[in-house]
């Protein structure tokens, strides 16, 4: 039996400029019984070579290269299969954990022998001088983000009543990120819980799968994960046809992927009305939050001309796709443009306003 408590799985894509520092910070976690599995998603730059060279002599770090680019979900699946630890944690290549994070999270998980340990908060960076190593940021350059509606003072085993769980999930009691959680590896393997082939919402799908199958789902409050914010928005005004195509492909695959997860649940089998509710919620939220803003920013003309967008419709709707594409454009043209004043959560400016509103050091609910 391996003595590794937590396997940290990190999908990487074009992460060459910061990945070594990121891994360095994770190696300084107070929990020492960890391994780090880096999965390069076929980056065209030297991400893979850099990691192989940097961690050649570090037996806690494993570097794997995907044969072809398949998105973070597939890369994480590779990581899950290679992991040896009792629990698995997922970290994005540019993010980090506070130094005591895994020790405290693992202790809570161990107390319950949890299938899933769910932490309800996370830090987001709030600085104009972004360091490579996020653990060096002082407290006033980190904001506490509350991700869930429901917070427990101490680690709490939540109900096994699936109706309650699903109703609460629909009411945003369970944030869908995969990085502020620990997953018991054997629990994932036993229920064959892996990431589905989606470019967006693959994390939501994965977490719902866990929620439907975990016997011991533990929620705790706290702020451990450090989410790297951009100083300036990179995405605004720079939507490409490829990005719209990606959001559309996800939109058209999300129902199938969510249904596949729901159909593994005995509770849902007895209460099939939840299928429509969940699918409609996932589809409309994707449409509203990703597809519509991307389409509005790109504009109809560019969308109409794009071969990538056309391919998405063609793949799904075959010969009749031109009509569906037209229906999509016609239905989205009258929608209002995305509200730029609401701000992009990935910007300093957004959080500056939030800090002004809630005060320095406050917990900000999102």
């Amino acid at each position: 039996m391996s003595d590794i408590m937590v396997s940290i799985v990190i999908p990487m894509y074009k992460a060459s400029s910061f990945i070594v520092e990121c891994v360095g910070a994770l190696c300084r976690q107070t929990l020492k019984e960890t391994e780090i599995i880096l999965v390069d998603d076929c980056s065209p730059d030297d991400t893979y070579e850099k990691c192989v060279n940097a961690f050649r002599d570090d037996n806690r770090v494993t570097v794997i290269r995907q044969e072809k680019n398949g998105g973070p979900g597939k890369a994480r699946n590779t990581g899950i299969k290679r992991a040896k630890g009792k629990y698995i944690a997922f970290v994005d290549a540019d993010d980090s954990y506070v130094l005591t994070a895994l020790e405290e999270m693992a202790a809570a998980a161990e107390r319950f022998n949890a299938d899933v340990l769910h932490v309800s908060g996370a830090f987001v960076t709030f600085t104009k001088n972004m360091p490579m190593d996020l653990t060096t940021l002082p407290d006033d350059e980190l904001i506490k983000m509350q991700l869930d509606r429901e917070v427990f003072d101490s680690p709490t085993l939540i109900t096994n009543d699936m109706k309650q769980r699903l109703d609460d999930w629909l009411a945003h009691f369970y944030h869908w990120n995969v990085w502020s959680k620990l997953f018991r590896r054997e629990f994932l393997l036993e229920h064959e819980i892996f990431f589905k082939d989606l470019s967006l919402s693959e994390d939501k799908n994965f977490c719902l799968n866990c929620l439907l199958h975990a016997d011991k789902y533990v929620k705790m409050k706290g702020f451990y994960y450090i989410y790297r914010n951009e100083i300036e928005s990179l995405s605004r005004g720079k939507v490409t046809p490829a990005f719209l195509a990606k959001t559309l492909r996800t939109l058209f695959r999300i129902s199938e992927c969510m249904r596949a997860v729901l159909e593994t649940s005995d509770f849902v089998a007895d209460n099939p009305q939840y299928i429509d509710i969940v699918l409609e919620k996932c589809t409309s939220s994707l449409d509203k939050n990703y597809v519509t803003p991307a389409y509005k920013k790109l504009g109809r003309e560019a969308a109409e001309k794009s071969a990538e967008v056309d391919t998405v419709f063609r793949e799904l709707f075959g010969a009749g796709s031109a009509y569906i594409k037209k229906l999509f454009f016609d239905a989205h043209d009258p929608l209002p443009a995305p509200d730029e004043s609401a701000g992009d959560m990935n910007t300093y400016a957004f959080w500056e306003k939030m800090v002004e509103k809630y005060g320095q050091g406050a917990v900000i609910e999102i």
Partner: protein, 364 residues
């Protein structure tokens, strides 16, 4: 080798009352080297036995029975497979055809060695009480109407430029009915021109495929087909969810058939924009003239909750049915109020006025 110049294919369904007049108008053609293949599309009455008996001694008439009720397109396909004539044409079982029609059309076909001969107009019978035998009407009760926009007044061979033909089609210059046209049989077989399996619009797609494939496409002025109108506005009560479901299915099928139809024509590899343009024309017609008035009368909720309508969306889009149908409903909800004037062309009053205008012009 057969000496049959034209094979006429006639699909029929519960057509006992009128079909003999239609067949008789063919037997009265001045062109004698014809065969008439009447395909009974599994009528629920005794139409088949009736015709079989009636034309027992008429060697030019052949009555066959379809294996299952598949709509006029499938019935015509069966008829074509049995035909031996040099050219193929079609006639509906409640219409009539002027005596010299096939002779005139065949003469033009031979003159130009045409793959397709296309006539520009039809005759509308104008009578307060519509007779069973349309041929019994005097000529001054037949209103000539040209269906093609900017119709030619002399016989022309269309340009072989497919782009030009498409531009004309998009401007409604070439009507899509299959009657009033001659198709060279070998041309149909060699180019695999077949009716798509649809209950409506199959003729438009068939004709379009011929327009895009024919080497020699001849358009000639002519009003030979007497097209029976119902003389009343009967369909208003039929603007129900079943009507919406039927039209919706046809529209969605059209969207699959049109690209197929274009795929086999090399020209469109470099001009894919025509697929979108064609779709726009056909869906605009479907949405505004047919579905629109019914949808607006019934309201979104009634249409959306109808199980037959839902079944259509699910047949076509499976798991995406809810999302795609929502897109469609959103667009239909934005359609400005449309007039329900489909039935206008079926009324005696409308054509009486048209006929008066026509006769006045003639006497000038």
């Amino acid at each position: 080798m057969s000496n049959i110049k034209v094979s006429v294919i006639m699909p029929m369904y519960n057509a006992k009352k009128l079909v003999s007049y239609s067949i008789n108008s063919l037997l009265a053609q001045t062109l004698k080297e014809i065969e008439i293949i009447v395909v009974d599309d599994k009528s629920t009455d005794d139409t088949y036995a009736y015709c079989k008996e009636l034309y027992r001694d008429e060697p030019r008439v052949r009555i066959v029975l379809a294996e299952k009720n598949g709509g006029p397109g499938e019935a015509r396909t069966l008829g074509i497979s049995l035909a031996v004539g040099e050219y193929i044409t079609f006639l509906d079982s409640d219409d009539g055809i002027m005596p010299e029609a096939l002779e005139c059309m065949y003469a033009e076909a031979k003159k130009y060695n045409a793959d397709v001969v296309h006539t520009t107009g039809i005759l509308i019978p104008v009578a307060k009480s519509m007779p069973d035998d349309l041929m019994s009407l005097p000529e001054n009760r037949l209103c000539p109407t040209t269906q093609d926009k900017n119709a030619t007044t002399e016989t022309v061979v269309l340009s072989s430029d497919i782009g030009k033909r498409m531009d004309g089609w998009l401007m409604h210059m070439y009507q899509g009915n299959v009657w009033g046209k001659l198709f060279r049989r070998e041309f149909l077989v060699d180019n695999e021109i077949v009716f798509p399996k649809m209950k409506m619009m199959e003729d438009i797609i068939y004709s379009l495929k011929a327009l895009l494939t024919a080497k020699t496409y001849v358009q000639m002025p002519g009003n030979f087909i007497i097209y029976r109108i119902t003389n009343e506005s009967t369909s208003r009560g039929k603007r129900n969810t079943a009507f919406v479901a039927k039209l919706l299915r046809v529209m969605l099928q059209t969207n699959i058939e049109i690209p197929k139809c274009f795929n086999s024509v090399d020209y469109f590899e470099d001009h894919p924009e025509y697929i979108t343009k064609t779709m726009k024309v056909l869906t605009a017609v479907g949405e505004t003239m047919y579905v629109g008035p019914a949808y607006q009368k019934l309201g979104r909720e009634t249409v959306e909750q109808d199980p037959i309508v839902r079944a259509v969306w699910e047949d076509f889009f499976g798991l995406q049915a809810d999302y795609v149908s929502d897109l469609w409903y959103r667009n239909m909800d934005r359609l400005p109020p449309v007039a329900d004037n489909l039935d206008m062309y079926d009324t005696y009053e409308y054509w009486e006025k048209k006929l008066e205008e026509h006769l006045a012009k003639e006497s000038e």
